[in-house]
């Protein structure tokens, strides 16, 4: 059984709920491929034997005037396949107190079970006071935070806020907030690893494929850039599987993770058990 911690539900059904969503996906999110029906995402998850998939909202209103997609849309898509999907809310630190209220509403009323932030697309400093207030509320609500770290290909956004090292300070200040550093912070992988090793509450996701095919990238990331022995001995309980659909197909990422030449128990932890710990304990 596999849990995919990192899916952007930019599917046809979401675009029907918000007619400008495809335009925002192209212009702001930077992905120009046509949205696929939800059915094809479900088929991908079935083929990859993924039993739980985390769907992510992204609130970019203060910088770009849009959500890609909104918390409401994520909640509606989760409701279509409630046994398969778990929704993560997103709120915009730039909206101040309103963001706190919207976060409480999304968790308590919409049933979303975590938070997604992206300092590049949302254009906020992770160490800013407004972001700090948001973390305090996330910690109070006892939900995990998945945050983008590392490269953003789109030239519309800046990556100065995406170095994973800034999360050392935040993890230190919020020791009970579970923080997942997306993409292992690639290319600042060792910075992300250092933060994850220093803090019990920090995890890494391996979503997206920056350096080639999924097999090429995960092999590079978890057996070469990070030597296999470090992955196995130090990070076995820290790494979570994620695909980053629709930027990559889910079965290709699962196949790549399963093909890694590392200890089989560690692969099982990456695909399943580590996410269980973060989501449900």
């Amino acid at each position: 059984m596999t849990i995919d911690i990192h899916i952007h539900p930019l599917v046809k059904e979401a675009c029907e709920m918000e007619p400008r969503l495809f335009e925002w996906q192209r212009e702001i999110y930077g992905l120009t491929t046509s949205p696929q029906p939800l059915d094809t995402l479900v088929s991908q998850l079935e083929e990859a034997e993924v039993k739980k998939a985390i769907l992510l909202a992204l609130d970019c209103r203060s910088r770009w005037g849009c959500c890609i997609p909104s918390n409401n849309i994520v909640a509606k898509i989760v409701a279509k396949e409630p046994d398969l999907f778990i929704g993560f809310a997103s709120v915009d630190p730039g909206l101040g107190e309103k963001a706190i209220d919207e976060l409480k509403y999304a968790i308590k009323n919409l049933g979303l079970q975590g938070v997604k932030l992206n300092p590049a697309l949302q254009d906020f400093d992770p160490l800013s006071p407004s972001a700090e207030r948001l973390y305090a509320e996330i910690e109070r609500l006892e939900v995990p935070l998945l945050v983008h770290t590392g490269l953003v290909w789109s030239r519309k956004h800046r990556i100065k806020y995406c170095n994973p090292l800034v999360w050392d300070e935040i993890a230190y200040n919020h020791p009970t907030m579970k923080i997942i550093l997306a993409h292992c912070g690639w290319p600042w992988v060792w910075d992300a690893v250092a933060v994850a090793l220093r803090h019990e509450n920090v995890y890494l996701d391996i979503s997206n494929t920056f350096t080639g095919t999924p097999r090429e990238h995960l092999r590079h990331l978890l057996t070469e850039l990070i030597p296999s022995r470090v992955t196995e001995r130090f990070l076995g309980e820290k790494i979570l599987f994620g695909s980053d659909y629709p930027r990559i197909e889910v079965p290709k990422m699962v196949d790549a993770a399963k093909s890694l030449s590392i200890d089989a128990d560690v692969i099982r932890r990456i695909l399943h058990f580590n996410a269980l710990e973060v989501l449900f304990k």
């Binding site: 046809k12 192209r26 999110y29 930077g30 992905l31 120009t32 491929t33 696929q36 029906p37 059915d39 094809t40 088929s43 991908q44 083929e47 290909w153 789109s154 997206n208 494929t209 920056f210 080639g212 095919t213 999924p214 097999r215 090429e216 629709p246 930027r247 990559i248 197909e249 079965p251 290709k252």
Partner: protein, 143 residues
């Protein structure tokens, strides 16, 4: 001469599969009212194929299996890099190459309202990088 155009929407379920679309093509021919001419079946996707072959369960497994053996997925493809045009990595050169080998269209004669397929011939859409929503054009030209 009359020209009739229909676009079929097919949602595939697997990363690699063959879908028999013969009945959908015949239905389009019937809707067209054209009795004699030719039928063009054309896929709009470069990681799919359209071909004619026997509808037999063993072959439906053998054809993808041997295409996979012929064009392996683990190799050093130049195509596998970030595409700014798409905003994502290209990771499916093997699907494009399989598509080139199979081809993207089939042409079948139409006579007296019948699609002139041989007794064992069926028209297939081949999915090489699914699951996805695919669009196949059926164009009928004749009188």
């Amino acid at each position: 001469m009359k020209v009739y155009f229909k676009e079929l929407t097919i949602v595939t379920r697997r990363s690699c599969e063959l879908i028999n679309i013969t009945d959908e093509v015949k239905k389009a021919v019937s809707e067209s009212g054209i009795k004699n001419g030719i039928v063009l079946v054309f896929s709009k996707h470069t990681t799919t194929g359209v071909f004619i072959n026997e509808a037999e369960k063993g072959l439906e497994r053998d054809i993808p299996f041997y295409l996979k053996k012929l064009v392996v997925e683990e190799d050093n493809f130049f195509h596998h890099h970030f595409f700014y045009k798409d905003g994502r990595m290209a990771v499916n050169a093997w699907a494009h190459i399989r598509s080139v080998l199979v081809g993207l269209h089939a042409i079948v004669p139409l006579k007296d309202g019948n699609v002139l397929l041989g007794g064992r011939e069926n028209i297939y859409l081949a999915e090489f990088d699914g699951p996805k929503e695919r669009h196949v054009v059926v164009q009928i030209m004749g009188e």
